[in-house]
Each structure stands twice: as structure tokens, then as C-alpha cells.
């Protein structure tokens, strides 16, 4: 099948390169330079899809981003399938495969078209009215049904194999749109030596110049491009859509790099997100042609007049051979003239205006075109393609007898609407100009200017808006993409929706990916006419980003696979891998969770590791703990103000467990702080809290306490931290250490000192998160693994056992030590979690003190940290389970607490749990019930310490 509707005058078609493609399985030919839409039109194919709601046959209306109908699926393979792309924006390549959408079993015979027959029963607001009752039907029937019919196209079934990239860019001037005005603006900025970035959504620059028949347009474009390319500070981005306008002149661009290639190489970047910060933005986004609203205006073959000029002049394609034109703007005559020149017959020019005058009208008269003015359209005929049009004169405001004229194409134009989407996104104010029938950019909050037709329309041809006079409103479409007719808008206003915001949501006009490009102004015109109110009083909806859809891929960018997030590992990580450790994610860190031997399960490994720590010694990588060096003469005073604890009396060489609250009095972080000198502290935080603790402390120092002479430096990653915990810990490390006497009396629990281990500088802390005699050895990170191995080696004779975070959790729970974020949830005071002993009560102030004084913060009914022992000692509770005072398992019941930590303790041979229970500390010995789906589990409330209640082991 040849290109029956193709001539040889397409200015941007390469006739030497024939491209073969398929649409709905059928093979067609096009040329290099075609879009899918132009190539199909050249082959006489107008039927491209079925409409969203009524499944009406639909064709091509426009020639660019404003196309509301011709949505197709372009498929390379199962992973690379893109639904809902506009045929007018798909560049043709050899072997392109496109499919129509929203039809079954096929495009020509579509069962869904039955909806047209019942269209009277699915009016605007149908869903709101119908799916209200009975309530039970919602989940079972209505929701699945609506999900079934919602949306167009089918998502790809496999993971996206393409790469997406991102760039930040800065420029003095960003020009959006490379038509006549945009190119002139870019040229002027370039001549001033500015950094210019100019982008256009099309595959070549030129905008509306590309659609002109005259030779001058082409030549001036070529000259401009040549000059522009000579400036090194000018970046030209074609196939690049400016989809969003963000605050402070940050513009999001999406550059499509491989979409037009027949066989993109594996690993090629498919799309690129540009985040451009521009000193000045120039919006040269042009204007969109406005359709006319008349009955049957959605039949395949009904097209915008300007689009027809584009197809003819740019692509060498005639949309038809016998053409009727319905015009409300002089450019309609230009289209008719050019098409006649190209060999088409003009069946009629029906001007909806009464006395049209102008240059093109005069030319059309001279060319003998059949012009009728003061007309309206009463309908069109044909099913899959328009076959005729009925036009009727308006006499004294009434529709007179109509006249049916045969045609294969109907061109329509209502004039132009400035494309103000980006301007509106920038939160700029729009102003209605009735002499232009257009909203144009007014005040802006950004440093931007609009130029060309995006700024307003030249001349005095304002075209027409709203609907033509008509009686049959149910097939007069305003919004093709969302299947909204004049009748729907009529109904909405009769039902009381008078604000455009309400009408939009009730009728769905101007929604979805189309964002009202063709429909907005006509909707306003219709409502204005019905309510007899001027357009500005109806209001204007917000233009949402994106201007046209962009892929999720560009937002993900490089953040996939190994680079999804930074994977932080410790200096001993490689050793843990060699020992077959199983890791868990703790914030961005990978931490060894347990070290299974042979075929051990997690529970078996954890039990073995726990028993080893209690019996002899364990080795634990604590490097991820946050560390901050606090230095300066006011260091102790600073800590006094930050922590709930008192620090002034902490002597050099000693450590203290510190608790940090937020201003609201709730526990935020904790950790051991050691005093290295009168003016130097080594502070530790939780792994996940390191960054926010440092940020909060810096914030206080910089904004509240500039009187203090103290400075903070993060040392988290300076030190590798090796915890050696258990009764044999001292025996193991003593031979390796010099410079510190670590005997029990010289270096008791909660000591800190500096010395060397295995010849390497070391900060040694005698601390314990296990309840056993323990040390944390800090060495410069590069030496972490070597020292770890030296200790492991030295500990062999004592049965030293590496243990992971899971054993660490069990060991600390046996001792009732809290974990921030596990026992606490951002609403626990120090007293709630049994830490009121840490409060320096004599201190005048500390962060959170004033909040803690409030009565509610001291209420005896607050949830308090307790221990739980199940009556069946082998049952391990579920963390997060709710606790009730009675066994009754039917709602409503009062929930008085929840389980925060729960483990099987190998040391005790039974399960243990920590919980937060209202007023729990006064109820030790009482039986409560932990609610589970199966049954309520009885538990006994106890103090939150299960092992070595007297705390003798740590002093060993």
C-alpha cells in the first residue's frame, strides 16, 4: 500500500529513506522525517484509537503535543513498551511497532463501543452518582470494575532495561521553545555573550516555521541555526520537553535520546532529566490551535486546520482529497488555499463568523473557493471516517435548514490559545484579554518573560470560543481525551456546579495528561455562555505539571541497583564476609547480624553467640556508632545544656551514659560519653542518630549558645570500634595493650584512656552493652581489620566468638538496656523508659527540661518500660503486639500497652520481652494479655531486667 496521500513537497521529509513500520500488525511505509501520525495519514489511515469512555472511533486532531486522541502503544519488547504516546510525537524509525488502545477485539470492531448506545445513561458525574450504595458492593464489585475500565494502555510487564541519566545545569538564559520568538531571544542573549540553554520538544528547531510553505521561513531558520551553533556558550537541546517549573527558576527538562532510533545500543541513555537553574527564563512556548465545538466533531478525519498545514508543508501529506473547512479564524483560509494548491478539492469553507474580512479571505475568494459565512455545523456523517458534513446558516439567531456536503476530511479552527502552562506553573498570574479571547501572562513571581505568541496574540483576529449554535449536544466534544461533551457541561451547570474548579472535577474536562491543551478555553466559553457571566468570573483551573507525560525513569536516574543508596561498610566488613556473616541494613550501613557456622539457623547461631559472650568472650563490630569530638573550655557546660545528665563532675578518664532529649522532652538519642581531658570529650551516638545529633548540636551552638567556646567534629568514621565483651575480655586484650593499666581497680567499668594496641594508637573505653565485663577499642579506621584479627587470634585460646547485631539485641534485652527507636517511639520521656536516674536534677536547664516539668509528662498513667514473661516460657511474643488487661478478645477493648522487644534467651532457657505498659511499674506480678489473632497470650509483668539483676558481671 503506497503513500496515496503523499506528495513530493514535504520540506523536512527525506524521500530517499523509506522506513517500514507496523500499526496494529499491518505493515506500512513512511519516510525519514515522518511522525507515526504523518506516515499513517499518508497511507490514508485516520482511525487510530477508541475514545476513553464511549469507545468512539477517533483519529488524528493535531500535529504535536496538543493531540488529544491519537494515543498509541509503542513497543520494542516486553520490557520496553510505552503506552499512551501521542502518534503525533512518535518519530518514525525502521521497524517501529505501534498498537492502538482501548479496543477489543480490534480497532475496527470494538465491543466497548456499545457504551455509545448507553451514553445517555453515563452522564457527567455517573461514577459519583452510581457507585454510592450499597456500601458493601464497593470492595467486591465497584472498585474492581472501576479499576478495570480506568486508564488507557497496558504497562510493560518486565523490568525496564534502559538507562536514565540526570544532569544539573546553570545558565543565564533558558529559552523554552525554539520557534521564531524563542530563536530570536536565544540569539540576542548569545550575542551578549551569555550562557544560553534553548530547548524544544520537537526533533528539530523551528516551531511553527516548520509548518510554513514559504521558502523564506526555511532559509531564515537555517541561517539562525548556523549562527547559533557558533556560540560556544549556547546549548541547544532538541527532543527536550520543559515539563515543570519549580521555585526560583528551577526548570525540569526531559531529553529523549534514543526514542527515535530503530536499534538503540544496549546501555545507551534513553532519557535524561535536566534540572536547570536559570537566572532568567524566556517562555517562547507558542500558542495552541483551538478546535471548534460542534456535533460530530470527533469523527476520524476531523482535524485542526493548522495541523493540516503542518502535515502538508512539513511532511508532504494531504489529510484528504475532498476537504470541508469550518473556520472561526482567518488561518483556516490559509489552510484551504495551500491544500487546494496541493491538489485537494475544497468542498466548502463554512465560516462561523458573519462578516469575515482579511487578506486570506480575499485570496480565497479570488481562488474561487466556496465560502459561506454566518454558518454553524449541525452534524457530520460517517463512522470510522467522516463522509459528510451538514452546515446550516444562522438566521436571526436560529439555525436554519442544513445542507449536507460530501467530504473526506473536515478542517476546523477556532483561533489560537497562548500556551501558558509553564507560566501558570511558575505561579504567575494570568489575565483575560477578551479582545484576544485568551488568558495571557501577567504578573510573575519569577525572573521570567514570555515572548512571541505565548505572551499574547498579535493582530485583531481573536477567533471564537465556546460551542457553535447547536441542538444535538451529546456528540459535540469539548475534551476529546476525557470524552466530555457540551451536554456534560450543560448538565454540570444545571446541577449547580458553577465554578470551573467544580466543573472540571465533575466532568473531568481538562484533566489527565492532556491538561486542557485543546479544551480549556472552549470549556470556559461554554460555561460563560450558559451562566451569562464573563469568562474571568468563571475562574481558571491550575495547569499541572508535567506539560506532557514524562517517564518515571528520569526521576530514578542513577539511583538503581548498587547505587540506589550509598552502601556504607565498616573497616571490618571484608572480614565478616569471609566469615559468612549474614548482614542487615541499619540506616545506610551493612551490619553483620549473625555469623552462622555450618548449617546453623539464625536462632541457633544467635543462641551460640549469646552463650559465648556470657561464658567466655564475644567480639563485635561497633564501628557504626556515631562519634563526635567535643573540644573547648566550655565542653562540659555544653554537654550539661544538651544532655539530661550532669557532666561537670565527670572526671578525666571516666565515661557516663548520656541521654539526649528533644525540646519536647522526648528521648531522641543516647550513648556513652567519655572525658579525655578537661576540655575534650569523646561522645557516642546511636548508629542511625549520628547525623541528626550532630546537626542538632551544631544548630544550638550556632543559634542559641554563641557564648560557649566549644567546637564539634564528627569522628564516626575516624575510628574503627571493636567491642570485646565477656568474662575473659581482659585476659584476651591485656597482652596486646600498652600505655594503660587495665586491671580491674585501675581501669574500672566506665573508664576511658589512650594507649596503644598491637602498636597502634588506641582509645580504650571500658563499657558494656551486654552486662558483661567489656571494652570498646577505638583504632584509626585503616587499622581496624588488622587489630580485629589480632584480637581474634589472641582470643582463640579463650573461645572468642564473633557476634552480630541480633545477639547484641538479645544480650542487652536480658539486661533491660533500651534501644532508641525500639523501646522509644518519639513519645517516650526519660522516666517512661526508666532513665530518670540519669537526670541531673540540680541543673538549671537542659534541652527538654521545660517540657518535662509539665504535668502530663509526669502522669503516673503514662506507658512505662516493663518486662514480660510468658506463662509458657517457650512462647516468643511478637514485637508490636498490643497488650490488654483482660483476656477478652473481642472489640472494643482497652489497649494498655505494646511489646517493644521480644527474644528467646538461650542464657535463661526461656523467652523474654520488654514492653511499654500504662502505669506498668506499679503492676509487677500482675497477669496481662498479649493479643494475637489466634488467642490472647497470658504474661506476667516484671521489672525489665532478666539477668544479673545486681549488675555484678560488668564489674568483673
Amino acid at each position: 500500500m503506497g503513500n496515496a496521500f503523499r506528495n513530493k513537497d514535504g520540506k523536512y521529509i527525506d524521500y530517499t529513506q523509506i522506513l517500514r513500520f507496523t500499526f496494529d500488525g499491518k505493515i506500512y511505509q513512511g519516510y525519514k522525517g515522518d511522525t507515526l501520525a504523518s506516515a499513517l495519514l499518508a497511507n490514508g489511515v485516520h482511525l487510530l484509537g477508541r475514545s476513553f469512555k464511549y469507545h468512539r472511533p477517533r483519529g488524528i486532531v493535531a500535529a504535536g503535543a496538543d493531540e488529544p486522541n491519537a494515543l498509541v502503544t509503542v513497543q520494542r519488547d516486553h520490557a520496553r513498551t510505552t503506552p499512551n504516546v501521542k502518534a503525533t510525537q512518535v518519530e518514525l524509525y525502521e521497524g517501529l511497532i505501534a498498537e492502538s488502545q482501548n479496543r477489543w477485539p480490534n480497532l475496527r470492531f470494538d465491543v466497548g463501543a456499545l457504551n455509545t448506545l448507553i451514553s445517555n445513561f453515563i452522564p457527567a458525574g455517573f461514577y459519583y452518582k452510581t457507585f454510592m450504595w450499597p456500601r458493601q458492593a464497593w470492595g467486591k464489585f465497584y472498585e474492581p470494575f472501576i479499576r478495570g475500565v480506568a486508564g488507557l494502555g497496558v504497562a510493560p510487564t518486565e523490568a525496564d532495561p534502559d538507562r536514565y541519566s540526570q544532569r544539573f545545569a546553570h545558565c543565564d538564559v533558558l529559552v523554552v521553545g525554539a520557534g521564531r520568538a524563542g530563536l530570536a531571544a536565544a540569539m540576542e542573549a548569545a550575542e551578549k555573550g551569555l550562557r544560553v540553554l534553548i530547548c524544544d520538544e520537537q526533533n528539530m528547531f523551528g516551531g511553527s516555521l516548520l509548518s510554513n510553505a514559504d521558502v523564506q521561513s526555511t532559509e531564515s531558520l537555517l541561517q539562525t541555526m548556523e549562527k547559533l551553533h557558533q556560540y560556544s556558550k549556547v546549548t541547544c537541546l532538541k527532543r527536550t520537553i520543559a515539563f515543570g517549573y519549580f521555585p526560583h527558576n528551577m526548570i525540569g527538562l526531559c531529553e529523549r535520546l534514543t526514542e527515535h532510533l530503530p536499534n538503540p545500543a544496549k546501555g545507551d541513555v534513553r532519557e535524561r532529566l535536566w534540572q536547570v537553574r536559570a537566572r532568567h527564563v524566556i517562555l517562547a512556548t507558542g500558542a495552541l490551535e483551538r478546535p471548534l465545538v460542534f456535533p460530530g466533531n470527533d469523527r476520524p478525519g476531523v482535524m485542526l486546520a493548522g495541523a493540516a498545514r503542518t502535515y502538508l508543508n512539513r511532511y508532504g501529506v494531504l489529510p484528504g482529497k475532498n476537504i470541508a473547512c469550518v473556520v472561526g479564524h482567518d488561518n483556516g483560509y490559509l489552510a484551504a488555499l495551500e491544500l487546494q494548491q496541493a491538489g485537494a478539492t475544497i468542498a466548502v469553507i463554512a465560516d462561523v463568523r458573519t462578516k469575515p474580512v482579511g487578506r486570506y479571505i480575499e485570496q480565497a475568494r479570488q481562488a474561487g473557493l466556496p465560502i459561506r459565512s454566518g454558518m454553524t455545523v449541525t452534524g457530520t456523517g460517517g463512522y470510522r471516517r467522516v463522509r459528510n458534513i451538514s452546515v446550516a446558516p444562522i438566521v436571526n439567531g436560529n439555525i436554519d435548514a442544513s445542507d449536507t456536503i460530501r467530504c473526506d476530511t473536515v478542517l476546523m479552527t477556532g483561533g489560537y490559545t497562548p500556551s501558558v502552562h509553564l507560566f501558570s506553573q511558575s505561579r504567575g498570574k494570568l489575565e483575560w484579554k477578551s479582545e484576544q479571547n485568551a488568558y495571557i501572562p501577567s504578573q510573575s513571581t519569577e525572573n521570567l518573560s514570555s515572548v512571541g505568541s505565548a505572551a499574547g496574540l498579535a493582530g485583531n483576529d481573536r477567533g471564537v470560543i465556546g460551542a457553535l449554535p447547536m441542538t444535538n449536544k451529546s456528540t459535540a466534544f469539548v475534551d476529546w481525551q476525557n470524552d466530555v461533551t457540551v451536554k456534560d457541561i450543560d448538565l454540570a451547570t444545571r446541577e449547580g456546579f458553577h465554578s470551573i474548579e467544580h466543573i472540571k472535577r465533575y466532568t473531568t474536562s481538562g484533566m489527565a495528561t492532556d491538561q486542557g491543551k485543546t479544551s480549556n478555553i472552549n470549556t470556559l466559553g461554554i460555561v460563560s455562555n450558559i451562566l451569562q457571566k464573563p469568562v474571568p468570573e468563571i475562574g481558571l483551573t491550575t495547569f499541572r505539571m508535567p506539560y506532557t507525560p514524562v517517564s518515571f525513569g528520569i526521576f530514578a536516574g542513577f539511583a538503581r541497583g548498587d547505587l540506589f543508596d550509598p552502601v556504607r561498610t565498616t573497616p571490618m566488613h571484608s572480614w565478616a564476609i569471609e566469615q559468612n556473616a549474614v548482614f542487615e541494613d541499619v540506616s545506610l550501613w551493612k551490619r553483620a547480624r549473625y555469623f552462622p557456622r555450618n548449617s546453623e539457623s539464625m536462632n541457633e547461631a544467635v543462641a551460640r553467640e549469646c552463650l559465648a559472650v556470657r561464658a567466655s568472650c564475644g567480639l563485635f563490630d561497633a564501628s557504626t556508632l556515631g562519634k563526635i569530638e567535643v573540644v573547648g573550655p566550655d565542653a562540659a557546660e555544653f554537654l550539661n545544656r544538651m544532655y539530661i545528665n550532669a557532666w561537670s563532675k565527670l572526671t578525666v578518664g571516666k565515661c557516663r551514659y548520656g541521654v539526649l532529649c528533644r525540646e519536647d522532652g522526648f528521648v531522641m538519642d543516647d550513648g556513652v560519653v567519655g572525658r579525655l581531658a578537661t576540655d575534650r570529650f569523646h561522645l557516642t551516638t546511636t548508629t542511625g542518630g549520628a547525623a541528626r545529633v550532630l546537626a542538632m548540636m551544631e544548630d544550638y551552638l550556632q543559634t542559641e549558645w554563641q557564648d560557649l567556646q566549644v567546637w564539634l567534629t564528627s569522628t564516626t568514621e575516624q575510628w574503627a570500634v571493636i567491642a570485646v565483651q565477656g568474662p575473659r575480655a581482659r585476659d584476651i586484650i591485656a597482652p596486646l595493650i600498652s600505655g594503660i593499666d587495665i586491671s580491674a581497680h585501675a581501669f574500672p567499668h566506665m573508664s576511658i584512656g589512650e594507649g596503644t594496641i598491637h602498636g597502634i594508637t588506641m582509645r580504650l573505653m571500658r563499657v558494656s552493652f551486654t552486662g558483661e565485663l567489656g571494652y570498646e577499642i577505638n583504632v584509626p579506621a585503616d587499622h581496624g581489620r588488622a587489630i580485629w584479627e589480632a584480637i581474634y587470634e589472641a582470643g582463640q585460646a579463650h573461645g572468642i566468638t564473633p557476634y552480630g547485631t541480633e545477639a547484641m539485641h538479645v544480650l542487652r534485652a536480658e539486661k533491660g538496656y533500651v534501644i532508641i527507636g525500639q523501646e522509644t517511639d518519639g513519645t517516650a520521656t526519660p522516666d517512661d523508659v526508666g532513665l530518670s536516674w540519669a537526670i541531673g536534677k540540680a541543673k538549671p536547664d537542659y534541652v527538654g527540661k521545660r517540657a518535662l516539668i509539665r504535668q502530663a509528662m509526669q502522669a503516673p498513667t503514662r506507658k512505662q518500660l516493663v518486662g514480660l514473661l510468658t506463662l509458657d516460657d517457650q512462647v516468643v511474643l511478637e514485637e508490636g503486639a498490643q497488650i490488654c488487661a483482660t483476656a477478652a478478645n473481642t472489640p472494643p477493648m482497652q489497649l494498655i500497652g505494646h511489646v517493644t522487644s521480644s527474644y528467646y534467651s538461650a542464657t535463661l532457657g526461656r523467652s523474654i520481652a520488654l514492653a511499654m505498659v500504662a502505669g506498668g511499674r506499679t503492676c509487677y506480678g500482675k497477669t496481662l494479655y498479649v493479643l494475637m489473632p489466634s488467642a490472647a497470650i497470658p504474661v506476667t509483668l516484671t521489672a525489665p531486667v532478666f539477668y544479673d539483676e545486681k549488675g555484678e558481671q560488668v564489674n568483673g
Binding site: 547505587l563 550509598p566 566549644v710 585503616d782
Partner: protein, 157 residues
């Protein structure tokens, strides 16, 4: 595209203190700490990078000296971070795949330095000449930064 290489190991300190301590440090270190925001100063093999009104990153040997008169803070961070060198064509463009700053050489001029981000990692970026950047990053973020730079190389092959 620019080459990526590991900078040789060096001593590193964070020096923090007021203007007077800073003046004493100039004497003790035998080089003036830069006072201009976001600028680095190089003396021989040593460099001082301005990170904040009271904060400098010192790179190189010979900084480990005690000041006497005034309060200040000096903390050894030699092992906290690593240095990565980026040298060659498109070095700035490669950084801009993940760094939102304007790295035009007329804006972020040679000798300037700043804390910023590269993708999801915080870095210190120092322009040593038009096509050479020195990146300081905490050691556990090193793999991530190198991984992202390798992708940037592909972008500018």
C-alpha cells in the same frame, strides 16, 4: 572524560576556632589559613580549605602542633575520609550529574572549595584547576562516589 584516581594518603585535621586562634594557627602552621569563604590555600604540599567561618580542613603533614594561648579545636580525621582526584575533560560536567552547584570555571573558580553533595553523598569539593577537582568524602561513602563517577565517565565517553 576525566580520569578518576585515589589521592595519596595524607594527614588530615579539622581545625575550628575564632579569629584570634586562627591568627595564632597561621604562625604555628607557617601558613595562613584562608579567610575568604569557600577558598583553599596551598603552601607546598599542604593545603587549608575554608569550610565555615570557624572551620578548616587541613591536608598534609606538619599541622599537628599545639597552640597555647587561645581556645580552639583540632581533631585528627586522617582516617575519616579519603581523597579522590578527578582530572581531565568534562570534569565539571561529570560532577554535575550529581552535584547541583554551578561549576562553570568563571563561577566556581580555581581554588574554590565547598561542602556539597554528589548524588546522595556529602562531599567536600575543591577545584585545583579548570579541569582538576579534589573530592574529600567519608570513607564509607567512597564506593558510592566512585560508582557514580564511573557512570559519569560513561556519560562523557
Amino acid at each position: 572524560m576525566a580520569d578518576i584516581s585515589e589521592a595519596p594518603h595524607t594527614e588530615r585535621y579539622i581545625f575550628r576556632g575564632g579569629e584570634k586562634a586562627c591568627a595564632e594557627a597561621d604562625m604555628a602552621f607557617g601558613m595562613n589559613l584562608p579567610r575568604e569563604a569557600c577558598h583553599a590555600k596551598v603552601t607546598g604540599e599542604r593545603a587549608a580549605l575554608w569550610l565555615g567561618p570557624d572551620e578548616w580542613l587541613l591536608l598534609g603533614n606538619g599541622f599537628n602542633v599545639q597552640l597555647t594561648a587561645l581556645p580552639y579545636s583540632q581533631v585528627d580525621v586522617s582516617h575519616r575520609q579519603i581523597g579522590i582526584q578527578l582530572k581531565g575533560n568534562h570534569a565539571a560536567d561529570m560532577l554535575n550529574i550529581g552535584c547541583p552547584l554551578d561549576l562553570d570555571d568563571a563561577i566556581f573558580t580555581t581554588g574554590m572549595c565547598t561542602r556539597t553533595v554528589f548524588g546522595k553523598a556529602e562531599i567536600i569539593l575543591w577545584r585545583q584547576d579548570v579541569q582538576t577537582f579534589h573530592i574529600e568524602v567519608w570513607r564509607s561513602f567512597g564506593d558510592y562516589v566512585r560508582g557514580l563517577l564511573a557512570i559519569a565517565q560513561k556519560e562523557y565517553m
